[in-house]
């Protein structure tokens, strides 16, 4: 079953909220989103992440040692997660 965008956004908040101020690499994030119900493609994930990056809900960096792209919620993103009542 294809994951709709609102469901993906909720799953994304659910996955990033418990990370706090730590950076989570994109590969692990993708695995986490597909844990219970596979269906989130990498492209779909990146579309949402980029849109949220523009709204300043998430931030990313590339780790120098591993070369992995890592993401985390910004302060605005954490407020969004709180408002959405996404419980860990």
């Amino acid at each position: 079953m294809k994951t709709t965008v609102p469901i993906l956004r909720a799953k994304l908040l659910r996955a990033l909220k418990p990370c706090g101020s730590y950076w989570l690499d994109e590969d692990t994030l993708h695995i986490q989103l597909n844990l219970a119900h596979p269906g989130v493609t990498r492209d779909e994930l990146l579309v949402v992440l980029r849109a949220w990056k523009e709204k300043d809900y998430v931030d990313f960096r590339v780790d120098e040692l591993s070369g992995l792209t890592e993401w985390r919620l910004t302060a605005s993103g954490r407020q969004l997660a709180e408002r959405s009542s996404v419980a860990p």
Binding site: C19, S21, Y22, W23, L24
Partner: protein, 254 residues
């Protein structure tokens, strides 16, 4: 072994089902013909057809044991036999057991993921409150690395504790080594001062003796002046090059 119950030998006839009367869910097997009353430790487990809900209803510890059992690589058929022997749950196929294991593994992983940042924070706090000197930048980097290792399944909670202890040990050894060097340098300085002081005292005592014998005074004055010159030169050389005594040099692999 899935549970902590003592595995007892149950006579086969008490568990066999009559071929013409298959068990329905919840029905107990027929009573044995033998009238003996089994002791508490030997009471046979009543077997019944089970569903995945029966597995979900098990206590936390047993669910964990089942997950560990599968993780260890044991086949599902072996797990089914053990569930029947120890829990009295009979499954006619592997699918419910496999589905249960998948749910349980996801649940356990989700717990680990949700507590990863708390585990990393706990590690940082232990390091921060230790007697050793960790800068905030270093603590942040260590915390991020611990979080990364937990979420990438390279580290679990118990291993985080071990990781923290190892860090403290390594840091402690570095600090001890530095402190030992500093202590030895101070001790050396103190000994040299003491030596100079003792030498001066000895020379002054000698001078007093010579006062009593003026005929050797000239030689003694010359000797004392030369000795002081040598001591000053030595001190000057020492200030120019601070050398570590051989005992304090790094040994390979230390």
């Amino acid at each position: 072994m899935i549970t902590k119950k003592t595995k007892t030998h149950t006579p086969r006839r008490q568990r066999d089902v009559a071929p013409s009367t298959p068990l329905s869910a919840g029905e107990a097997p027929a009573a044995s013909a033998t009238p003996e009353v089994p002791s508490e430790a030997e009471a046979p487990v009543a077997v019944r057809l089970a569903t995945i809900d029966d597995l979900r209803a098990l206590d936390e510890e047993t669910r964990g044991h089942i997950a560990d059992f599968v993780i260890s690589g044991a086949p599902i058929s072996t797990l089914r036999r053990m569930l029947e022997a120890e829990q009295g749950l009979r499954f006619t196929e592997d699918a419910p057991v496999v589905e249960f294991y998948q749910e349980e593994a996801r649940r356990r992983w989700q717990n680990t993921f949700d507590t990863a940042s708390a585990d990393a924070d706990a590690m940082i706090n232990v390091l921060r409150h230790s007697d050793l000197d960790f800068s905030e930048v270093l603590l942040k980097a260590l915390g991020q690395q611990a979080f990364r290792m937990i979420t990438q399944r390279e580290l679990n909670t118990k291993q985080v504790e071990k990781f923290t202890r190892l860090l403290l040990q390594a840091r402690g050894q570095d600090v001890s080594r530095t402190r030992a060097k500093e202590a030895l340098a101070l001790q050396r300085e103190k000994m040299e001062r003491q030596f100079q002081s003792d030498l001066e005292k000895a020379l002054n005592a000698l001078a007093d003796e010579i006062k009593a014998h003026p005929e050797v005074r000239e030689s003694f004055v010359f000797f004392r002046a030369k000795l002081k010159e040598a001591m000053r030169a030595k001190a000057k050389i020492k200030k120019m090059t601070v050398q570590t005594p051989p005992l304090l040099e790094e040994t390979p692999g230390a």
